[in-house]
């Protein structure tokens, strides 16, 4: 079964990012496909490469990136939400004359068409956060 996951909260501000990560891992463990993880609104903060998490706490952003690499996940952050929150890749940073990219390379910045596509194509869609 193909399951799409939507994350609407940031890793430092709510438990929802952790819930979504644990659920995503469980979906993979059960042998299902993760169709896409779409990060919307504050969820885009999960892609942040600048965050510095205390050593005795899990770095959820790094965990998402690692899970993405391991399973070749489609981790997409919403461009409209991302720009407002200073989540930029190299090309956005260049276009808007900001000093650096702030998005980890495992994440792709794209439009809300990717959310629509996930909703239409996946067998299930589960939303975390809000």
């Amino acid at each position: 079964m193909r399951i799409a996951i939507v994350v609407r909260s940031g890793p430092a501000s709510s438990q929802s990012s952790r819930s979504a990560l644990r659920f995503t891992q469980a979906v993979l463990d059960a042998g299902h496909d993760v169709h896409r993880v779409f990060f919307h609104g504050d969820g885009t903060y999960n892609a942040n490469t600048l965050s510095v998490v205390p050593q005795d706490e899990e770095d959820l952003s790094a965990s998402w990136a690692a899970l993405g690499r391991e399973h070749d996940l489609d981790l997409v952050i919403c461009v409209a939400s991302a720009l407002k929150r200073g989540m930029l890749d190299a090309s956005e940073a260049d276009r808007y004359e900001r000093p650096a990219a702030s998005v980890r390379p495992e994440f792709v910045i794209s439009g809300l068409g990717q959310l629509a596509d996930a909703a239409l194509d996946a067998d299930r869609m589960v939303t975390f956060g809000g």
Partner: protein
């Protein structure tokens, strides 16, 4: 194509959920799927008439909601009990909507394929 339900239960202006929902609805309408927008709980406040954001200086979301029919998003349902609990009637709303009760809402949920929550 899958029937999508956009479920709004956040009120406007305090949080960006309404704005995010609106952008997602417009982006989705391009694919022309069966699409229903449900305003329930505090979400019914999204559609209140006479919202005037001039003094506050925030985004005029109501103007965007008004434009939904232009994008051929016309299946708009409002949960009647949510409206009544908030002292509102359908005449207080800026769009022509279908008011539904609990049983009709339960039937709607059972009828759609995927739910997007805001």
């Amino acid at each position: 194509m899958a029937h999508l339900l956009f479920h709004l239960r956040t009120p406007p202006h305090g949080h960006p959920a309404g704005e995010e929902a609106l952008e997602a609805i417009l982006a989705t309408s391009v694919f022309e799927p069966p699409l229903t927008v449900l305003f329930e709980g505090d979400g019914v406040f999204q559609l209140v008439r006479s919202q005037d954001v001039h003094a506050l200086g925030c985004r005029d979301l109501a103007a965007n909601w008004s434009a939904l029919p232009v994008y051929e998003v016309t299946d708009l349902r409002v949960h009647g009990p949510s409206l009544a609990a908030r002292g509102l009637t359908p005449e207080d709303l800026l769009l022509d909507v279908t008011v539904i009760n609990d049983a009709e809402l339960a039937a709607l949920i059972a009828d759609v394929d995927r739910v997007l929550s805001f």
